[in-house]
Symmetry: C2
Subunit: 586 residues, 2 copies
Amino acid sequence: MNDLICMAQLNPLAGNIEHNKNKAIECIKKAIKNNASLVIFPQMYLLGYPMGDILYRYPSVAKHAKKALDEIKSYCENINVLIGYPEIEEKSYYNSICFIQNKEIKRSIRKSVISKKSIYHEYSYFEAEKFNLKDRIFELNGKKYGIIICDDILFEKKFDTDLILQLISEIDILICCASNHTRMQKEQFEHNVLKDIAKKYKTKIIYVNQTGGSDDLVYTGLSRIYDEGGEISALIEPYKEDCKITDINEKKHIENSELDKTFENEFSLNYEPYLEYIHNTLVYAIKEYFSKTGFKRAVLGLSGGLDSSVCAVLLADALGKENVLGVSMPSKITSSNSKNDAQILAQNLGIHFIEAPIKETQDLIASKFSEMFDNINWCNRYTSSYTQDNIQARSRATILWGIANEYPETLPIATSDKSESYMGYATINGDMSGGYAPILDVTKTKLFALAKWMNKNRIEKNAIPNSVIEKPPGAELAINPKTGKTLTAEEALMPYEFLDEVIWRIENKNQMLDDMTKEVFLYEKNHELSSEQKLVWLEKFFKRMQGALYKWHIVPPAPVIDIHSINSIEYRQPITSKINYKENLL
Amino acid sequence: MNDLICMAQLNPLAGNIEHNKNKAIECIKKAIKNNASLVIFPQMYLLGYPMGDILYRYPSVAKHAKKALDEIKSYCENINVLIGYPEIEEKSYYNSICFIQNKEIKRSIRKSVISKKSIYHEYSYFEAEKFNLKDRIFELNGKKYGIIICDDILFEKKFDTDLILQLISEIDILICCASNHTRMQKEQFEHNVLKDIAKKYKTKIIYVNQTGGSDDLVYTGLSRIYDEGGEISALIEPYKEDCKITDINEKKHIENSELDKTFENEFSLNYEPYLEYIHNTLVYAIKEYFSKTGFKRAVLGLSGGLDSSVCAVLLADALGKENVLGVSMPSKITSSNSKNDAQILAQNLGIHFIEAPIKETQDLIASKFSEMFDNINWCNRYTSSYTQDNIQARSRATILWGIANEYPETLPIATSDKSESYMGYATINGDMSGGYAPILDVTKTKLFALAKWMNKNRIEKNAIPNSVIEKPPGAELAINPKTGKTLTAEEALMPYEFLDEVIWRIENKNQMLDDMTKEVFLYEKNHELSSEQKLVWLEKFFKRMQGALYKWHIVPPAPVIDIHSINSIEYRQPITSKINYKENLL
């Protein structure tokens, strides 16, 4: 026996025990061949995390997992294995790690602190097991190892409790089997906790995390070993599977700028430090969603605007330019600049491109509508409506879904961004519609920064035409009667710099309208802003947000990036609710 | 003091403390005027249940609730009040009942058993308080009352534990402040638990439940008092608000056929005993969704088929016939029978009706598509595709959303049913699209029964033409090459009798494909069915269901009726998952 351990940073397929089992066996074989003495898999690896309500609807997957363990153990000759699985005992489920030693299942270690986050559903299915010190410790090659399951104590800000201290005091090395998805600041927080524990208690820590993507959650992996000084001595690259074999006594010091990043808890437009991470995570998320759902190709509308341009670049990076089709669908009021920008972008990226004007369809539907409205004897029509605007957006989505119906393995893309989704500034069955929404959790000011970053840092420089980044965003669906030009989004809404700070304050500070009136916004530092105008914008924001709730209910899956999101996987404000956002002002 | 108590069966507006507080004060005033000595409100009444993640995003609503309690207590002269609210202490939240006695807040009783159901999100927010016997008992007019908060012990099948027995042994009357939504068998289960406790321990029980609807959940109310023999001595009607004042010594015996219903745990096509309940609950759900979101009018496509016909009747019953617009949108392959049926239905119901043919739009889009596909140089097209079918469905939805854009307070209706949604036999941006989906949780065989029931029991008899109920369902989007007629749904899928039992077995028995091969289906008793054909259907079902997951992600809000649903409020199987439904067969 030696101190070689194998960190199995794998990408499980949720619900497919057979697939996950086979991958585990391959990894164990590799570890045996390389003389490792221990293989560590992520939390709940055999079922695949996040598991949604698979256990609830199809409880027999837990039986299948038990059978799979019996097969796995037969491969574990002279090796130790820790592998996450759903344990069933009578009618109770546990989030467990199975400890296999030399072809024998020694015991199960059951998670004690069940996550309360609604995103994971752990609480609905798993019983919390009393923390049992003895079960969590095993000896190997003269060293004592202790086992922790994901945020089981560690990340609940309770790591200073007696139990964890007692565990640490009795062991040499702490193992954490994790399945932690990424989002802004989350990995950094986890890193700091682990680093601090290692340093404070002079303990090595082996942290094994899964990689891969689910519908909305991305797992970067970043499995690693901390030495007794809190330094990283081994690290698996993010976004990839690897069964890395390392000597736990390795003396390296590995720097990782991503994990060591510090965050300001104040709104800022300086997104630079996060743009590479955002780009890589979004690209990986797209890649994962497509491969796991069996899609290969993406089709999206190219308006010549920022949102669709950024989506096109991300898709090309994720799927390959040959698998992306950009469709320019000019209407009567689309400017020739926009058309040109769309085409230039497509050329720069090398993606497929066609033009499919919607003028005739728009005219026909509009004239049919006009006849139809004359026949409806119901109630007064709006004096001013979005009907004409939305005919355009919906005709476009019909084209994209039509292409998806005609070509195999093709998914249409929804290009809505986070700022406009908060405002409900998006058309149902129009730009909101698609099989996947890559930038739903990216605010507009961040998108501008990301576009510039991609122009500078991708292989093809300046793929996005400058004019796309410089012109004011707008849906180009309507004319502003005041200017005679197409209505810009900031005219319809409010300045993005202000809007994005409102979102930031909701998501990072849990503020309501009345709280925000008392805060000084970045926009106020940079521009003149009367308190009346500020209140007008805030009221507009909260009113529009309330009206947007029903749209959030039907947004497609989208990668979570920010500290909080309105993705339907985690956002749960009833549409029928009616919060008084300025109750304190009453 | 006397034994008059007031059961406040109210309909809170989630998140609107001000609104809920004012309603509570009105009720307390009425109780004082009528000499009642105790007013009992539902669980979490002040915030409104279900609360989603309101507390998480906007924690200051808990502060507002505290302020509201201070105002409420000032009205409580010579009266006792129990009222549910979100209690905050330091950074912990509790699901609490505030006990007010003669203008003074006496104490808070905190819930001990936090619901694990993901539909409620309780576990994400609330701490469970140790069950404290003393806090839960108060004396009034020489009688001892004990307090239970919703499923706090009672409904967790733990009501035989020491704690509840001890509580019951020390009191005369048990009070349960509830907010239990309805769904098949749920209210009956709760009734049986309460009745058994009352009888077994010779205790009166006062059960106060909220009424109203949320996005997907319906609260019928049915607040009631059980006497020591387990008989109901007072009952508030379902689906309505009432502050009912009753003497707890009332000697009535009230029968309620709904609560006393027993259920067979076997699949059956005999839906008769449940149809009135289903009708009333769906109608109430629609009414509530519309009024709480501010919509007044509904527009829906009338195809002359079963789904849209049933939806039209439900909408007319909920919103009034003058607020419903049915649109017949015949395409090239719509039969004249279907058109006629749509018109006759509208006439029978007295709803608004227009015809808006889509032939020209369909032709124009099809010819534009054909040009466009010639320009796409990408990959091979499907040899047979749904492109033409879906142009029709999407052109129709564009019309409905256009009408919603043009007329104030108008919501388009998605008419997809449960059987077809399970199969993904519904078009995105087509029949799946709408602001609300009344029958998403109603299977096809149940819809047939419901249609017949409505024809017999509504004021306007036989509103739905017989031909609608008799003809085989189908989307009328394509021609079956074998028959030369429009393709029926059962040709495209499988017999509904079989399909609905598969759904029933998943939702009621948690069975997978491999389990079902071993079961004898009702269809097999009624028809010849080879085991090969059965396996073909089962495989088709599970394959199509897997492919439908992404559609379930974007279904509109819809009332939950069945014991389980695929409504997005509770269904959480990752689209990226890949369960092997026949793993046991391997």
